[in-house]
């Protein structure tokens, strides 16, 4: 496989959603961390699309309880083959 590519495989919708929202949520969290620990970091630079996410994604995400979010993330991103047991050796 080459070490670089200028033509990556076309990402799926789920892939694009995950990539963009993860980066955005980290960006928002980093801004909060800079506020919480003054002098320890620099405010991150926003990327394209963050403005829309701030309006249409972040409010709903923040209102959703973590327990529900965790289940939704699992439902959205995990395939049936990816139910890996924590202790597979116990089933031997």
């Amino acid at each position: 496989m080459p070490i670089t590519t200028t033509s990556p495989a076309r990402p799926s919708l789920v892939q694009r959603f995950r990539s963009l929202t993860e980066a955005y949520l980290l960006y928002v969290a980093q801004k909060e961390m800079v506020r919480r620990y003054p002098g320890a970091g620099t405010p991150p630079a926003p990327k394209r699309g963050y403005g829309l996410l701030a309006v249409f994604f972040l409010p709903g995400f923040k209102l959703t309880p973590w327990a529900i979010k965790k289940r939704l993330l699992s439902a959205l991103f995990r395939r049936p083959a990816q139910h890996w047991p924590d202790k597979p050796w116990e089933n031997r």
Binding site: M1, P2, I3, T4, T5, T6, P8, A9, P11, S12, V14, Q15, R18, E22, L25, L26, V28, A29, Q30, K31, E32, M33, V34, Y37, G39, A40, G41, T42, P43, P44, A45, K47, F61, K62, T64, W66, K69, K70, L73, S74, L76, F77, R78, R79, A81, Q82, W84, P85, D86, K87, P88, W89
Partner: protein, 444 residues
């Protein structure tokens, strides 16, 4: 005779091929790589640049003959053109055919070249292949100023190494601090201070890379949202993508990270086809979602597991808890969830912090060790942590990953035992102190 073909000669591919022949000498095992070499550690490249490691030779695990003598049919500089899954044959670009009963994809990852003006100029480099690194190394003697893009682990290793070659080194990253994707600003501060004060590194955080300028095809300037930086060389620690094109061409399923979906035996969605390493998705032990990992430790263990299972075993791989660490003069490390990540996901957490020492106070070997722990406030189970300081960061990060995997609580860490020996261990362990701090915040 069962035929196993492994595509890819990195940690995963080498691990898969070697374990398969070790398990069953009657197997016909072929390992195909498009490169000249297999089984070397690309992570060591920055340390050769910085002359901490004397030569590139030291990065090779074994000479190629070693693998041939093991009974592996090693095909270097061989590019796979396509896989005929119906006839179960791998085809190379020069018309060779490699029939298989079991196929293992260990195709790793590649850098995504950013879509920026003049990104193809000479002097813009990507660090991964050892031969290219060997060609680049002598050129560093003529470099006066270099820019490293992105403060990921490789980026941090480069900005520690390049100043040792007398290169004025700049780091550009749109994030807020070093390793901001998985570490916290307050915990990275000592390392950042060391890089600035001791090595003269110029840090440009909150800054986008916007393009390049050159003269006669050669880089002269790196453009950023914070201004231009004149530079002879730019190291792009670009976004990494799992290399899955070949696997996808035969119908192997990929997931939300773009990497190959595998079960816990490294089987893909296609019968008789396995995958391992940086081209696959691995399950996160805490969040229960697939993630994409590129460190060699995962690639090697997954590769060995895939090779064993292709050879007839039934080994399984558990979810991961991701210990990490790096640094030299100031070490940093941790496991799983940072405060930033917890904040990003919205999970509930309590923080405990403490600063201790790594050896007895009266012993010259003692250094500071800063510890930050995160725990679930309801269950009091530890969910993550970070360490910054002297020797012992790696061991603490490994310990913490294991502790989280076992569902360890703050109370258990607060009452943990520790080694006391003047040169290597102080009376009190800062992990215990951080756990007590977290507990006090819960009570308070």
């Amino acid at each position: 005779m069962k035929r196993i073909v492994v595509i890819g000669g990195g940690s995963a591919g080498t691990g898969a091929a070697t374990i398969a022949v070790q398990r069953d000498r009657s197997l016909d095992v072929t390992l195909i790589t498009e490169f000249e070499d297999i089984a070397y550690s690309p992570c060591g490249i920055p340390y050769v640049f910085g002359r901490e490691i004397e030569k590139f030779d030291g990065l090779f695990l074994q000479p190629l003959e070693f693998y041939a003598e093991m009974g592996i049919n090693l095909r270097t500089e061989t590019v796979v053109d396509r896989v005929d899954i119906g006839r179960r044959v791998v085809h190379s670009t020069v018309g060779e055919e490699f029939p298989f009963d079991e196929l293992i994809f260990c195709t790793g990852w590649e850098y995504e070249v950013p879509d920026l003006p003049n990104v193809g100029l000479d002097g813009i480099v990507y660090i991964k292949n050892i031969r290219r690194a060997m060609e680049l190394d002598p050129k560093l003697d003529d470099v006066k100023r270099a820019v490293v893009w992105q403060a990921k682990p490789l980026g941090v290793e480069l900005i520690e190494a390049l100043p040792r070659r007398g290169i004025e080194t700049h780091l550009v990253d749109s994030g807020g601090w070093l390793l901001s994707e998985f570490a916290d600003a307050d915990m990275m501060e000592p390392l950042q201070q060391h890089l600035v004060d001791e090595l003269g590194v110029k840090l440009h955080f909150g800054t986008h890379l916007t393009g390049f300028d050159g003269r006669d095809g050669r880089l002269t300037t790196v453009r950023t949202s914070g201004g231009d930086i004149e530079a002879d060389m730019a190291f792009l620690v670009a976004p990494t993508l799992p290399a899955t094109g070949l696997a996808k061409s035969i119908g192997v399923e990929t997931g939300s990270t773009g990497a190959i979906v595998v079960d816990n035996q490294m089987r893909t969605s296609v019968d008789g086809v396995f995958a391992a390493g940086a081209c696959v998705e691995t399950m996160h032990g805490l969040l229960n979602i697939p993630i994409h990992l590129i460190p060699g430790t995962y690639a090697y263990t997954q590769g060995r597991l895939a090779g064993a299972n292709a050879a007839g075993a039934s080994e399984t791989y558990p979810p991961v808890y991701v210990p990490w660490g790096l640094g030299a003069a100031v070490q940093v490390g941790g496991a799983l969830v940072s405060e930033t990540l917890a904040q990003a996901t919205g999970m509930k957490y309590v923080v405990g912090k403490a600063t201790g020492i790594t050896a007895a106070r009266y012993h010259p070997a003692h250094e500071q060790m800063h510890v930050k722990l995160l725990a679930d406030p309801d269950t009091r189970r530890v969910i993550g942590g970070q360490f910054t300081g002297g020797d012992g960061v790696k061991e603490r990060a490994d310990f913490l990953a294991f502790a989280i995997r076992k569902g360890t609580t703050l109370e258990e860490l607060a009452t943990m035992e520790n080694v006391y020996s003047p040169p290597i261990g102080a009376l009190g362990e800062p992990i215990a102190a951080a756990a007590k701090d977290a507990l006090s915040r819960l009570v308070g």
